[in-house]
C-alpha cells in the first residue's frame, strides 16, 4: 500500500481504493448479502393460521343461526305450555311464526309436554331443542379450539418469520428433483461441449501455418457476432416441426412430413443440450486452445516417432498439457449452463422438462415469492461454487489459472 501511495500520490491512491471498494461492496458483496438474507428469511403467505381463523368464523356463523333456531323453539315450547301455540316455526325459516314480543322469556323446557300439533317433524320440540343445544355447545367448544389453534399457528408463523431454513425445507420435492436434474443436465452439456470442442481446439492450436490457425479462430468467432438469442432463434428454425432437420429427413425418406410424421425435436432435452453446446462453445474452445497453443509440436512428433498411436498421443501428451484449459472450459460451461434461462426458456418452452432457472424465474415474476426465489438462486450459486472447487481439485489448478 505504501509503495502505491509513493507511486501514484495520495489522491490517485485514494481514488483507486475508493473505486475498488465501491465495486466490491456495492456491486458484488452487498447484493449477495441481500439475496442470502432473503433466502433465509421465511415469509408466511398462505398460512395455516389464516385458514384456522376462517374455519372458526364459519362455525361462529353456524352457531348464530342455531341460536336463532333455539330461541324460536324455546318460544314455541313456552307457547305450547300456555296452549296458544301457532304453527310450528321451521328451523329453515326461523322468521315464520315469530311470537309476539310480549311472549314470556322461556326458562328450562317444561317436562311432560305434549308434542305440538300440526308439526310436520316427527321429533318433539323438546327433543329437538335438546339436540340443538347439545350441538351448539359442541360447536362452541370447537370454535374455541380452532381459535386457540389459530393463535398458536399465528405465533408459530411470527416466530418463523425471520431467520429460518424454511425456504429450503418447504421447497416441494418436485423442485428439488428439478434442481438435481438441472445439475445433471449441466454436467451433460459440459461433457458434450468438451467432446465437441477439444478436436477443434487441437486443430486450431496444431494447424500447419499460423494463417490457418487465424482463419479457424475467425470462423469460430464470427457466429458469435450474432447475439445469443439470435443464435438460439436460428436453431429453433432448424429444429421446428416444419424445420430444416425434419425436411432433410423427409427428403431422405426416413420420415414422411405429409403424413404428419414430423419428429418433435424441440420437445426433448436433447435439443436444449445441442443449442447450449452451440451457444456456449467459445467458452470451451478458447481456454483449451490457449493451453494447447503452448504445446511444443516436437513433443507430439517425438511421441509419434516413438510409435504412439494418435489416441495415446492425445491421452498422454496433449490432454495433460491442456489440463488448465479444460478446467477453465468446464467451469465456464457448467456455470453458464446451470444458470442459463435463455436456452430452456426459448427452445421449446413447456415441451421439455423444466430447468431450475425457469423455476427461479417463475418464483420471481409469476408467484411473486422473492424469498423462495432467492433461496433457489442461492442453491445455484452454491452448486457452482462447489463445482469450481471440485474441478480445481481434480485438475489441480489454482484460481489464477482459472480466470485466464
Amino acid at each position: 500500500m505504501g509503495e502505491m501511495a509513493r507511486f501514484y500520490g495520495r489522491f490517485l491512491t485514494g481514488l483507486i481504493l475508493a473505486l475498488v471498494a465501491f465495486w466490491f461492496l456495492a456491486l458484488i458483496l452487498m447484493p449477495q448479502i441481500s439475496m442470502i438474507q432473503r433466502a433465509f428469511h421465511y415469509e408466511a403467505r398462505d398460512g395455516a393460521a389464516a385458514q384456522a381463523v376462517l374455519e372458526a368464523n364459519r362455525l361462529q356463523q353456524r352457531v348464530a343461526t342455531m341460536n336463532f333456531d333455539i330461541r324460536a323453539l324455546e318460544r314455541e315450547v313456552a307457547a305450547g305450555v300456555s296452549g296458544a301455540a301457532p304453527a310450528a316455526p321451521s328451523p329453515s325459516n326461523p322468521f315464520a311464526g315469530l311470537p309476539s314480543p310480549g311472549a314470556p322469556r322461556p326458562g328450562l323446557p317444561t317436562p311432560g309436554l305434549t308434542p305440538s300439533p300440526g308439526g310436520a317433524s316427527a321429533e318433539a320440540p323438546e327433543a329437538r331443542l335438546e339436540r340443538l343445544r347439545a350441538e351448539r355447545d359442541g360447536l362452541t367448544e370447537t370454535i374455541a379450539e380452532s381459535r386457540a389453534t389459530a393463535q398458536r399457528l399465528r405465533a408459530e408463523e411470527a416466530a418463523a418469520q425471520g431467520w429460518s431454513l424454511r425456504n429450503f425445507t418447504l421447497m416441494s420435492p418436485l423442485h428439488w428433483r428439478i434442481f438435481g436434474l438441472t445439475l445433471v443436465y449441466a454436467l451433460c452439456v459440459t461433457a458434450l461441449s468438451f467432446l465437441v470442442c477439444y478436436p477443434i481446439a487441437y486443430a486450431a492450436a496444431q494447424a500447419k501455418t499460423p494463417r490457418r490457425t487465424a482463419l479457424l479462430l475467425l470462423a469460430l468467432t464470427i457466429p458469435y457476432a450474432l447475439n445469443e438469442l439470435l443464435r438460439i432463434f436460428a436453431w429453433t428454425m432448424i429444429l421446428a416441426n416444419q424445420g430444416l432437420l425434419n425436411h432433410a429427413l423427409d427428403a431422405l425418406g426416413i420420415i414422411d412430413l405429409s403424413q404428419g410424421g414430423a419428429i418433435r425435436w424441440l420437445a426433448s432435452n436433447g435439443s436444449v443440450f445441442l443449442v447450449m453446446v452451440y451457444t456456449y462453445m467459445l467458452f470451451m474452445v478458447f481456454p483449451i486452445y490457449g493451453s494447447l497453443e503452448t504445446l511444443d509440436r516436437n513433443q507430439i512428433e517425438a511421441a509419434r516417432d516413438l510409435g504412439a498411436s494418435s489416441w495415446r498421443i492425445h491421452w498422454r501428451v496433449a490432454l495433460p498439457h491442456a489440463r488448465p484449459g479444460v478446467a477453465v472450459g468446464a467451469i465456464m460451461t457448467f456455470m453458464l449452463a446451470v444458470g442459463s434461462l435463455s436456452v430452456p426458456q426459448l427452445v421449446g418452452p413447456g415441451l421439455h422438462p423444466d430447468w431450475f432457472s425457469q423455476i427461479v424465474n417463475r418464483n420471481f415474476f409469476e408467484s411473486n415469492s422473492w424469498n423462495v426465489g432467492s433461496a433457489q438462486a442461492l442453491l445455484l450459486l452454491v452448486s457452482c461454487t462447489i463445482f469450481i472447487f471440485l474441478v480445481m481439485r481434480v485438475f489441480r489448478v489454482g484460481i489464477r489459472e482459472i480466470a485466464r
Binding site: A26, L27, I28, I222, F233, S340
Partner: protein, 285 residues
C-alpha cells in the same frame, strides 16, 4: 526425423487421424454457419413464419415495412416495431453507462492488484474475479433485490446497468492486468526520479501506455452489455432492451423482423471487422 524416415509404416495411421480431424473441422464449421445462413435467408423470405425453406418470394419488407398510400400498415417491418427501436435505445444507454462504470473500476482493480505486493492480493483477486464465475441469473437477482431492499430503487435500466457492470468490470480488469504486467516499470520510476508527481507520472506515462487497452475494454464492455440476456432479464424489471424484447417476442409468436435484426447485426460485424483489419494493416505498413 530420421526415425520417421526409417519407419514410414508408422505414419500411415496418423495420416488417417489427420484426415478424420479435417473432416471433423469441416463438419464443425458447417454446424457453426448453417444456422446463421438459414437465419439470414429467412429475413428475405416473404413467408410470415420465419423459414428459409418454404420460399414465398424475395422481399425486403421485414426491414422497411410496407404501408399503402393511406399510410395503413400492410407489413410490419422494423420501422413499425417501435418496441425494438426503443429497446435498441435502452441497450445503447445501458452500454454507455456500463462503459463509464466498468472501465474505471477494472482499471482501478488492475492497478491495485499489480502494484500492491502484499498477501491480500490473492483473496482480493478472487473477490474481484468472482462475478465471472457467478451464474448470470444470480447476479441479476441479487442486484434487483439489493437496490430495492436497501434504497427502494425499482428494477429498471439503472439496476440492469449495475448488474452488468459488476461482471463486465472483471473482464476489463483482466485485460488491464495483462497489459500492466508487460509494462516496463522503469519508465514510471524514471518520471518519478525526475521529479514528476505520482499523478503526473500516471497521466503522462501509464495512461498513454494503457490507451489501446482502454479502447479494447470499452469495445468489449459495449458488446458484452448488448449481448447479455440472463442477467439483464432479471435486473431490468418492466423495462426492456433490444435483447430482452427479442426474447419476449420469441416466446409469444415470432416474426421475420427478428431475422432482419440478425442480418443487420451480421453486416455491422463484418463492417467493423473490416475497418479494424484495415486500421491494423495501415499501422503495420
Amino acid at each position: 526425423m530420421s526415425v520417421a524416415v526409417a519407419a514410414p509404416g508408422a505414419r500411415t495411421p496418423t495420416d488417417w487421424s489427420g484426415v478424420i480431424l479435417k473432416v471433423y473441422v469441416a463438419l464443425f464449421l458447417g454446424f457453426m454457419f448453417l444456422p446463421i445462413l438459414l437465419m439470414a435467408g429467412a429475413a428475405f423470405n416473404a413467408n410470415p413464419t420465419p423459414s428459409a425453406l418454404d420460399w414465398r418470394g424475395f422481399t425486403t419488407d421485414w426491414f422497411t415495412g410496407r404501408t399503402d398510400e393511406a399510410g395503413r400498415v400492410i407489413v410490419r417491418g422494423l420501422p413499425q416495431e417501435t418496441r425494438f427501436l426503443q429497446g435498441l435505445k435502452h441497450s445503447i444507454l445501458i452500454a454507455l453507462g456500463v462503459i463509464a462504470i466498468s472501465v474505471p473500476l477494472g482499471l482501478a482493480g488492475a492497478l491495485l492488484l499489480t502494484r500492491i505486493g502484499s498477501k491480500a492480493t490473492g483473496p482480493l483477486y478472487t473477490a474481484l474475479v468472482s462475478p465471472l464465475l457467478t451464474p448470470g441469473i444470480v447476479l441479476g437477482v441479487s442486484t434487483m433485490i439489493f437496490w430495492r431492499d436497501a434504497f427502494g430503487v425499482q428494477a429498471g435500466l439503472f439496476t440492469a446497468m449495475l448488474a452488468q457492470s459488476c461482471f463486465i468490470a472483471s473482464y476489463c480488469m483482466l485485460m488491464f492486468m495483462a497489459r500492466l504486467q508487460r509494462q516496463d516499470r522503469s519508465l514510471e520510476e524514471a518520471a518519478l526520479d525526475l521529479g514528476a508527481s505520482g499523478f503526473f507520472a500516471f497521466r503522462r506515462v501509464t495512461l498513454p501506455y494503457l490507451t489501446p487497452t482502454i479502447v479494447a475494454a470499452s469495445a468489449i464492455a459495449f458488446l458484452q452489455s448488448n449481448e447479455n440476456y440472463n442477467t439483464t432479464f432479471f435486473a431490468i424489471g418492466s423495462s426492456w432492451t433490444l435483447v430482452t424484447e427479442i426474447g419476449a417476442r420469441m416466446r409469444f409468436g415470432v416474426s421475420p423482423t427478428i431475422n432482419a435484426i440478425g442480418v443487420i447485426f451480421i453486416l455491422l460485424t463484418v463492417v467493423f471487422a473490416a475497418l479494424w483489419a484495415f486500421s491494423l494493416r495501415k499501422k503495420t505498413a
